[in-house]
């Protein structure tokens, strides 16, 4: 008897599985469904996270004083601050905060929230705090330098004179998101400013509020009815964790997803060819680079460094593995920013590399250990370099694994990865690639790629980087950056840049207004869905 019941249940389940599912072909008109890989999403506190997917969520839960349009990335626009003035000496910024903005809690947003939030960012001192700390703000001085003078006025004083655009652009970063200070007042735990609470909750004023987030599973955000710019068209935005590229592609093709964000080159190519989907390539402010450790006698030889530049197949890779991931760029300022140049003087030339190695005193080549991250397309690029190097007599023992720790400790010979900055200004990239105030091991300037490579950056380059950041005349700045760019190429830096990174997303044609953003602030309130 029991057996019979059991068999009936089992058969029923089998039949249920075989039955067609009612119309899953289209996502609802008022909901946006995004496929993401959530594996590296680390909480949703805007002052703590430093990662693409989390930043996109935070971009919509919170707002900032300044906004940057995706297509005018270097032009600060009013956000929560409806206007601002800059003092004669360039050190004092006075922002007028918009009236009538409310937080999701219903609390009104005032200048006090703005000042509190920026102070919180600096005081927490986590990775994104660099956005303000690099201009001289510290936990000790921030309370006096960033302050609310009345309900609608915030004053930001910088300790030194910097180019004002640098400050304004920094205030558009997701890290400078404005938090509801009154709402968070009782969420403080052991002086963490509500940090633990904000990992999985929001306290913002953005067009969306967080309903549910289950790490590595899914996220639901709901349109905020009280949003000051009006309720967005998409009633809900749903993110699903789909770590497999092929799964993202299938669901996008089937119409269960509107946007897929982490696709392999093969899947992107297939979707590109299908016609139902648009592939967006958003330029980022970082590079695919190869780092040669300058503590190594052979690798510190300028001729050897130069030889490596001839061992990368820029054109071949452009057409294949890097098609969706990068744009050929051998100089150090990303395209689209002041001072960028279009010179790409290097190409794959084994003979030239051999000649340089002979001149350097290594006619028979040498052997080195090469660490690379085993993810696409970085590993393919590394394999290509390994193959070309072999032809020139350099034996690279390629090891794929998580070697970022070794890189930070300068315990490597050759390392390759990709970098990513968020500030749409050359300074962000140059500060890491071309400044190294102290090349000693004990200095532990681990945040800088130049220090990690043990590169004692020529003093004139470092001086120019500092001068440009302080220069208030925009035309002069552009001039300096162009100079730095050329000097970097001539110095044959041990940080060899080959491709400027681009982030590719596949968007169904019916979705309008979803635009990838170079500083990771993709907005959902601009999205509509057509037929």
């Amino acid at each position: 008897m029991l057996r019979r019941q059991f068999m009936t249940i089992a058969s029923a389940l089998a039949i249920a599985a075989a039955m067609p599912v009612a119309a899953t072909a289209e996502t609802p008109k008022d909901q946006l469904v995004i496929a993401v890989n959530m594996s590296s999403m680390r909480g949703l506190d805007p002052h703590e996270l430093n990662q693409l997917e989390s930043a996109e969520v935070v971009a919509n839960l919170y707002e900032r004083m300044i906004t940057l349009a995706a297509d005018k990335i270097t032009e600060p626009q009013p956000g929560l601050a409806e206007s601002w003035t800059i003092s004669e000496d360039g050190k004092t910024f006075t922002f007028k905060i918009r009236q009538g903005v409310t937080f999701h809690s219903g609390n009104p947003l005032t200048a006090k929230d703005v000042a509190w939030s920026l102070q919180r960012l600096v005081k927490l001192g986590l990775a994104p705090s660099t956005d303000l700390r690099q201009w001289g703000f510290s936990a000790e001085n921030v309370d006096s330098l960033i302050r609310a003078t009345d309900d609608q006025t915030v004053v930001v004083e910088t300790p030194e004179v910097w180019n004002s655009n640098l400050i304004l652009l920094s205030l558009a970063s997701f890290s400078t998101s404005i938090l509801d200070s009154a709402f968070l007042a009782d969420k403080n735990k052991d002086g963490d400013f509500g940090r633990e609470f904000l990992q999985t909750a929001d306290a913002g004023s953005g067009p969306y509020s967080l309903r549910t987030w289950r790490a590595n599973e899914m996220l639901i955000a709901e349109a905020f009815a009280g949003y000051w710019q009006g309720e967005p068209a998409m009633r809900r935005v749903l993110m699903r964790h789909l770590p497999e590229s092929s799964a993202q592609r299938l669901q996008l093709e089937a119409g269960d997803m509107d946007v897929a964000t982490r696709l392999s080159s093969t899947d992107l190519a297939a979707l590109d060819a299908s016609g139902d989907v648009t592939i967006q390539k958003t330029p980022g402010f970082g590079f695919y680079y190869v780092a040669l450790n300058q503590k190594d006698e052979i690798l510190s030889n300028p001729k050897v460094r130069e030889a490596f530049r001839y061992l990368i197949d820029y054109d071949g890779l452009s057409a294949t593995v890097m098609k969706y991931y990068g744009i050929k760029q051998q100089s150090i300022i990303p395209a689209g920013l002041p001072g960028a140049i279009e010179d790409n003087p290097y190409k794959l030339d084994i003979e030239k590399a051999k000649q340089l190695l002979t001149e350097a005193g290594y006619p028979d080549g040498f052997s080195k250990v090469y660490y690379a991250t085993p993810v696409t397309p970085e590993y393919e690029v590394a394999q290509a370099l390994q193959a070309n190097a072999a032809k020139a007599g350099i034996k690279l023992d390629l090891q794929g694994g998580d070697y970022i720790g070794k890189f930070r400790e300068r315990a490597f010979e050759i390392f390759s990865a990709r970098s990513g900055e968020r500030l749409p200004d050359p300074h962000a990239v140059l500060a890491s690639y071309a400044t190294n105030a102290n090349n000693a091991d004990e200095a532990k300037l681990t945040g800088l790629l130049a220090w990690r490579s043990a590169w004692d950056v020529p003093k004139d380059i470092q001086d120019m980087v500092q001068a440009a950041a302080h220069e208030t005349d925009q035309a002069k700045r552009t001039e300096i950056y162009t100079k730095i760019n050329r000097a970097y190429l001539e110095a044959s830096s041990p940080l060899i840049t080959s491709f400027q990174r681009t982030d590719a997303k596949a968007v169904r044609n019916a979705v309008k207004g979803y635009q990838g953003h170079s500083t990771w602030l993709t907005r959902w309130d601009t999205v509509t869905k057509g037929e």
Partner: protein, 353 residues
Amino acid sequence: MTTSQTTVAKAPGSRKLLSGARKIATSFAVILTTLLGLLVITFAIGRLVPADPVIAAIGDQADQATYERVYKEMGLDQPILVQFGTYLSNIVHLDFGQSHITKNAVSSDLARVFPATIELATLATLIGAGFGVPLGVISAVRKGTWVDHLGRVVGLLGYSTPIFWLGTIVILVFYAKFGLIPGGGRIDIYNEGLVEGPTGSLIVDSIIAREWDVLWSALHHLAAPALILGYAAMAYLSRMSRSFMLEQLRQEYILTARAKGLSQRSVVWRHAFRNIRVQLLTVVALAYCGLLDGTVLIETVFAWPGLGQYLTSALFFADMNSVLGSVLLIGMISIAINLLSDIVYRFIDPRTR
């Protein structure tokens, strides 16, 4: 007290009781040793992987001061034995630490992802046993006939087909091509969040909440991965039950039963099957354990937010607390299932008591 115990020990039948207690004590000792071994191994693996757990926690961009602070906070500056001691004492308090990825306590993460895996593995085991055992029995009874051959081919296919490949094919054909099954996940994304708790099993919770749409959606999502896993389990269980059954059918008591004129049905199910129940129970329990920790691939293919996916992602991002917690949980569950099957075993078959 001592006197009364002595009295009891001397009383008739008390020897049996004492030997039972000794057996239980031995079992516990074995369990504790196994657990300790598991702890040592997982801890050692956690310390041997080349990834830097500090960078995993704070990201590569954090400055050196933060790095050093977190390094200390994690206790990594302590001698390895002290670290192991801390680890042990935390585990005893059921504190697996915090996950650096999800920022939750690992124990609460596990409480969330494990029901998804149990749901999948349980249904797969039910399917596997429900089809596999009768198939094996029938194959054995009809040994050498086309039924037996067919059964063995079906079994062999299930045994030798890689689950990952089968899952991908099923998705390509039944989801992408014909739209007969839903895409990844446990539930249609529009039904997400409608039912929360108390058990964590969407099937059970949606029935409790009387949310039939959610139940329907959850069953749909469960069907394909459970059938694939169930098929693999079926292959294993049908093979085992066929060989158990064949062995029984060769026994003399079967000949006697047949000679007495009992029906085939009665001989097979009342006599022979009764005698292989205990062995079957053991292999079903083994299959269940195997499914609980072996759903990694199918969870990845079907984007199933269970323990397998949790563990994979934790491993990939050097989230060692999560890895250790997951491995330990799988270990403990396996031990528990084995223990349980042992108890039921004794219950069914008095000879083993």
